[in-house]
């Protein structure tokens, strides 16, 4: 039974496997505990040691951040912020 399931996963089209991995990667990124650097030199080092990405990956990341921003604004408008902000259209 397990073998059948394993073979089933292997027999899936490769495109699906890639998409699954990318989705998982995005979720893991968000779940990762936040690290807060306070030294600008350390922040600079982190910025300059980023993995290279393809244009497509960069585009999808921009979309992800855009969606997060939109949700953030919608939550603010609904007044569902946990730390209390007053809405005022800019």
């Amino acid at each position: 039974m397990l073998t059948e399931a394993f073979l089933g996963v292997l027999s899936r089209p490769r495109l699906n496997a890639r998409l699954t991995f990318r989705t998982l990667h995005a979720i893991l990124c968000q779940m990762k505990p936040a690290v807060y650097l306070t030294d600008p030199a350390q922040m600079r080092k982190a910025r300059l040691n980023q993995p290279r990405v393809s244009l497509e990956q960069a585009r999808r990341q921009r979309e992800l951040l855009q969606r997060a921003s939109e949700k953030f604004s919608q939550d603010a408008k609904r007044g569902t912020f946990s730390r209390g902000r007053v809405s005022k259209a800019a």
Binding site: A26, C29, Q30, K32, P33, A34, V35, Y36, L37, T38, D39, P40, A41, Q42, M43, R44, K45, A46, R47, L48, Q50, P51, R52, V53, S54, L55, Q57, A58, Q61, L64, L65, Q66, R67, A68, S69, K71, F72, S73, D75, A76, K77, F81, S82, R83, G84, R85, V86, S87, K88, A89, A90
Partner: protein, 159 residues
Amino acid sequence: MAEDGERYFKATFPGKFGFSVILVPGGLPDLTEATPLEYMERLLLQNTIFGDTVLLEGVAQEAGGTVIVTSQPHITGGAVSQEEIFDFMDRLWFRPLQCLQLGRPGSLAFYRDLDEVTAFDAHPGNFVKDTEGIVLPIDLILLRAGDELQKALAPFLAG
């Protein structure tokens, strides 16, 4: 984005240089269009405070006005939460400006008295949590508050 996948190129709209903050009649802070010098100071603060390496790539003169072209390293990662924005800014001694929202609806504002720097338009679109979990701001509106702006911001600082 550059073909090597490492840096973004960013051009201002012709004749526009992002936003700054002024006091409107009544003494309240509000967004206004920034001058080229204010835009450059904002980028300099981004480099100085947040360890960024924004580079001035060039200045072009187009029909609609001057365009400033800069580049900035791409940060690979995902979105931050509101709590992570608060925690990051807190560790750098930025205090939240309560009930003051300039920019995108819900965006957060902060002030740091040790160097009189204010940060506006803090929201998940202007931060990235990289693949190691490191929280990095990428495009906040930063400026040094003069005496008048400091006085205007004081009531918004949390007790």
